[in-house]
Amino acid sequence: MCGVMLDPLFDTHREVRALAREVAQAEIAPRAEGWNARREVPLDAIAQLAELGLLGVTAPEEYGGAGLDVTALCVVVEEIARADVGVSVAIAAHSGLTVGPIVRFGTAEQREQLLPDLASGRRLGAYALSESDAGSDPASMRTTARREDGSWVMDGAKMWITNGGFADLFVVFARTGETGPRGISAFIAERGPGLNVGREIPKMGLHSSSTVELAFDGLRLDADRLLGEEGGGLAIALSTLDSGRIVVAAQACGIAGAALELSVEYASERSAFGGPIGRFQGVQFPLADIAARLDAARLLTLHAASLADAGLPHSAPGAKAKLVSSRLAVDAADVAVQTLGGYGYSAEFPAERLYRDAKITEIYEGTSQIQRLVIARDLLGDAARGGT
């Protein structure tokens, strides 16, 4: 479609992308419409991705993963998102948000015990930070874990937990001490008694993704289920989101790419007033804008990912990538619906689904306001907090 594609990737990442693209287009894209219409989470498709190793992208090789980096995860998530956004968030929540913190903060025993099954996709993971009254401000969470006879007892509830309907393993954050950011700890909880998985939350889009409430009713956790230091939970949560945001940015680029492809195809084929609608500047210019912004967003996303992979600070770059890419996804989906006209608004055509799916990228893993907050703090330092 666009001639030579912008391609700053190197060998391994290109090969990973080729695999992800082939599988996404052959196995996921043709079935996405049906899954979303039936509000079905395609566990069989996720299992197939697992078999190909695509759930273990970032897990170290010694635990059966591919030992690749954030860039590779971005490449995979972008390609899957092009085909089905819901499946792409399942991978992002599993690999980025569950495997990620266990790799970085787990003890040798925890890594040994948990990572092989997560890397192979035999067990699937979820990340439980948000609560009904604490999303942007997780430090105000109410879920607690208290010590009792050498173990932990957890009470409370979490909200909007991706993969929650089927996950075997949850990285959960709970208050273990004083109020405020230093009183929070991270835990690894398993599906079972005391961890109640609630209903599927009805949503605007992302209908092939599971999003549930969780309730902890005196859930007992052995002492070795603490992830990282006691009181270090919020730092774990935020640093996990620092790289998670880059993956959401990649997902947004996937949505924008799918929307653009659809629009270009339709503009070349649809006739009005005696020729293809693509000859009207009114149709062309929105596509040109999206194409330019997509190249920019993808480069920004890969830039943020490469900083993360090099172990360099990537909090603000990741926030910028997500801010820009998520707005692009929403705008690109809007352009697609507009370009396709009546077909764009019709539910049997993918533009309508992209339009509903795109919006989530401006909300989860930090709303766009929160991304601006992160960027502003990076710019202004203490002054952004009202200090001098």
Partner: protein, 258 residues
Amino acid sequence: MKIAVCAKEVPDTTAEKRIDPDTGRLDRESGDKMLNEFDKYAVEQAIRLKEAGAAEEVVLVSMGPAKATDSLRQGLAMGADGLLLVSDDGLAGSDYLGTARALAKALEDVGAELVLFGAESTDGRGGVMAAAVGELMQRVWVTSANTLAVEGGNATVDRQTDEGVDTVTFALPAVVSVTKAINEPRYPSLKGIMGAKKKPQEVKGAGDLGIEGAGEAGAGTKVLGIETPPPRETGVKVKDEGDGAQQILDFLIEKKIL
């Protein structure tokens, strides 16, 4: 037993192909590349034979630019064990016969009892390579295999013909080309992709293998010019008002078809 699979890097089938107007050759430098789709079936069949214990080793053999290893690695990622690429500036411009001569020499070097080909390449579409190489190597060659089984030094294939299906059994060594009906090629796994980099990938020149009669100099054919075919004209519409058959007949006679 060792199986060699001849595989080729081709331009991405979804991208526009460009013919260099100066040389009359396909531009193999620019644009995305991929492993020839048809060859994946041959690679898959070889890996299956290995998995079933009928072979110990699967080697990919190819001729092309040095960068072609990038595409051929997909075959390694699927499960082939190694790769021999014949690459030499002097081989550019080889025609079918020159290519077959180069591949035959490379295959002698590899020394595989069974040589597999895909049905054709998505760029050249000649579909002659298996037969040409088979002849040059003075081996039994069988094309269009819908199935392929190997047992005790013999191979059996069901081969597609215009009339039906022939079942042929022959003694190895042999050269076989397979159709897309033979299997469903697997995706390479992520681990396969990572592992492929560590597998042996040898590049040899024409001199290393004693290849002669290939390249532009050895070509028996020459591209004199290239033209895009003229756009198809819209046909004649025949409206049947009782004389439809006569109109068609007149038309065919006028075009000297009848």
